[in-house]
């Protein structure tokens, strides 16, 4: 066998002087996880930012103005509103859901089994909750940013009835997280990515269509309406529409918030458990 010992040089090994290790706070650790994701976004934002502006425009032109002109001429609007003002707040909530699906499926599987960065993170002082929470916080910020851009693009078209529409941003974030948090848990349980296309086709697409986004839930057959009310999107859509028109939603608003919060809360418990089981076996 050869003897590589001979090649040891006297150059410094790069090891640094031993020093005390300052204990870190939870906030610092979650911030460090978020910083990692920001570095990744810094490499990819150019691609996604075009989509962030383009997708609101497509929706506005096709649904709001194109279909809207037809609906308004035939039926005089929907639920007492011009179709544009009916549909755009709904699309805001729907976009939040779509972004949540996009950021909580392949991305999570990637961090688990493709580049294994979650495992790399857990070899440091980070805890599972911090790895999970930091990633989710970045997803939430993404959804907030995309919603704000949508507001900016749609407002000049007269898509909103009130300044209260600013509240549609936190509503969209909450709606998105009601999907993202449980989806993180689900993705951490999937062995392969083949299930994701089924998820998109048979969960996300029906929810987009049947959650009161494009027409009121009351127009659905009676047996389908409960499906809308037990899933998060319809609640986000209603809250978003109320915010857009500056309507006080009353106790029903509390119900909407409670449903969304329940999805986030129960989702967190499940996601935390799935992550622990998958990454710390």
């Amino acid at each position: 066998m050869s003897t590589p010992t001979a090649t040891v040089s006297t150059a410094p090994s790069g090891r640094l002087a031993a020093g005390p290790r300052r204990p870190t706070t939870r906030g610092e650790r979650v911030g460090a996880v978020m910083a990692h994701h920001f570095f990744v976004y810094r490499r990819t934002w150019k691609g996604s930012i075009i989509g962030r502006f383009a997708s609101p425009l497509f929706f506005l032109l096709s649904m709001g103005l194109g279909l809207g002109a037809l609906v308004d001429a035939r039926a005089g609007g929907v639920a007492g509103l011009p179709y544009l003002r009916f549909v755009v707040p709904g699309i805001l909530a729907m976009q939040a859901m779509m972004l949540a699906f996009g950021d909580s499926t392949y991305a999570v599987m990637g961090y688990i089994k493709w580049n294994r960065m979650y495992s790399a993170m857990l070899a440091t002082p980070l805890r599972v909750g911090e790895v999970l929470g930091g990633h989710l916080a970045v997803v939430a910020l993404q959804i907030g940013l995309a919603t704000a851009i949508f507001l900016l693009v749609a407002a000049p078209f007269g898509a909103f009835g009130s300044w209260w529409v600013l509240l549609a941003v936190p509503v969209a974030v909450l709606t998105g997280m009601a999907f993202a948090v449980p989806l993180f848990g689900l993705s951490a349980r999937m062995e392969t990515d083949s299930g994701f296309s089924i998820l998109f086709r048979f969960v996300m697409t029906p929810l987009m269509l049947f959650s009161g986004t494009f027409f009121p839930v009351a127009q659905l057959p009676a047996w389908m309406q409960p499906l809308a009310w037990v899933t998060p999107l319809s609640h986000g859509v209603e809250l978003s529409r109320d915010a857009s028109e500056g309507r006080w939603p009353g106790w029903l608003g509390a119900v909407h918030l409670a449903v969304l919060a329940a999805y986030v809360g129960v989702g967190w418990v499940l996601a935390h458990r799935s992550f622990s089981r998958r990454l710390l076996s």
Partner: protein, 309 residues
């Protein structure tokens, strides 16, 4: 001195359902040692390393790392460990230096500290030239060195290396070994797993031989070879189907003979004497090679199998 004991395991066990991957091992590693787990694939090396790295709870037994219990103080222990896992786990979309920056932040290092350390670590890993490049197209050896550099970002007292050179070409292995020698010289405790006997002989002061989740022998490479093998080994190759015919004659002149499908290994104190004796008995192999005993021979003797399939 208990203060000098960095890793202490007693009856350490890891089960996955009915299957026991690590079956009650006892290990003790002192500060400054280069300690190895040598065993074939499936021996339970990675499972052991994950328990030591505090990312996999032990099923049974006792484990103390840096004097602490992983079940209680996992994060505090991990703050003082460097982990180089079997698979690289780098973010391949980020650049070389970005991988170090983000990782340093996980340990609570300030942005300034991280940048200062990055320069030194890149120098150590011989990656300064590639610091702005994305990780994805780098060679296996470079990725491995980056993983080690990243594991050093928190200035760990113990560096865990799970199969550090598996899958690398000989050139890249030697570069990596050289880096590990430097760390050892600087007083970093190394805990290494490998299924390469040459790697264990080169790097480890002391090692345990692992098979089927159990420790079958322990000592320095020299001690193990002295205890479980002879000074020299003669490798005999015969024409097809001839090996069987000569086994009995060969057994007559050696301490021990191992029959492999393609050759006979003859264990003896003096290979040339043995060859001469065989010649006298009319044994004419196609080829005969005299070499020193290695850890591979130790493993073969202890388990009846070879290390690498």
């Amino acid at each position: 001195m208990t203060d000098d004991v960095l890793l202490h395991a007693r009856g350490l066990t890891k089960s996955f359902g009915d299957f026991t991957a690590v079956d009650g091992i006892d290990v003790l590693v002192r500060r400054g040692e280069a300690f190895g787990f040598l065993g074939p694939n499936g021996a339970g090396k990675s499972s052991t390393m994950k328990m030591v790295g505090c990312v996999s709870p032990a099923t049974g037994g006792e484990l103390r790392i840096l004097g602490m219990d992983p079940a209680v103080d996992g994060p505090a222990i991990r703050a003082r460990l460097g982990v180089c896992p079997q698979q690289d786990m780098l973010d391949e979309d980020l650049s070389v230096e970005e991988n170090l920056w983000v990782y340093g932040r996980f340990f609570g290092l300030s942005r300034r500290e991280v940048r200062a350390r990055t320069d030194k670590l890149l120098d150590f890993a011989q990656l300064t030239e590639r610091r702005h490049d994305r990780v994805e197209p780098l060679s296996g050896g470079m990725k491995r060195r980056l993983t080690i550099a990243r594991a050093l970002v928190n200035n760990p007292e113990v560096l865990l290396l799970d199969e550090p050179t598996t899958g690398l070409d000989p050139q890249a292995r030697h570069v990596l070994w050289d880096r590990l020698y430097r760390l050892k010289r600087d007083g970093v405790t190394l805990i290494i797993t490998t299924h390469y006997m040459d790697e264990a002989e080169q790097l480890c002061d002391r090692l345990v031989v692992m098979d089927h989740g159990r420790i079958v022998a322990e000592g320095s490479p020299r001690q193990l070879i002295d205890t479980y093998s002879t000074r020299e080994v003669v490798e005999l190759r015969f024409a097809v189907d001839e090996q069987e015919r000569h086994v009995e004659a060969v057994r007559g002149v050696a301490d021990r003979v191992e029959e492999l499908p393609d050759r006979l290994l003859v264990y003896t104190a003096d290979g040339d004497d043995t060859l001469a004796a065989l010649h006298d008995r009319g044994v004419r192999p196609l080829s005969a090679l005299v070499r020193r005993s290695t850890l591979e021979d130790v493993f073969l003797h202890l388990t009846g199998r070879s290390l690498v399939d």
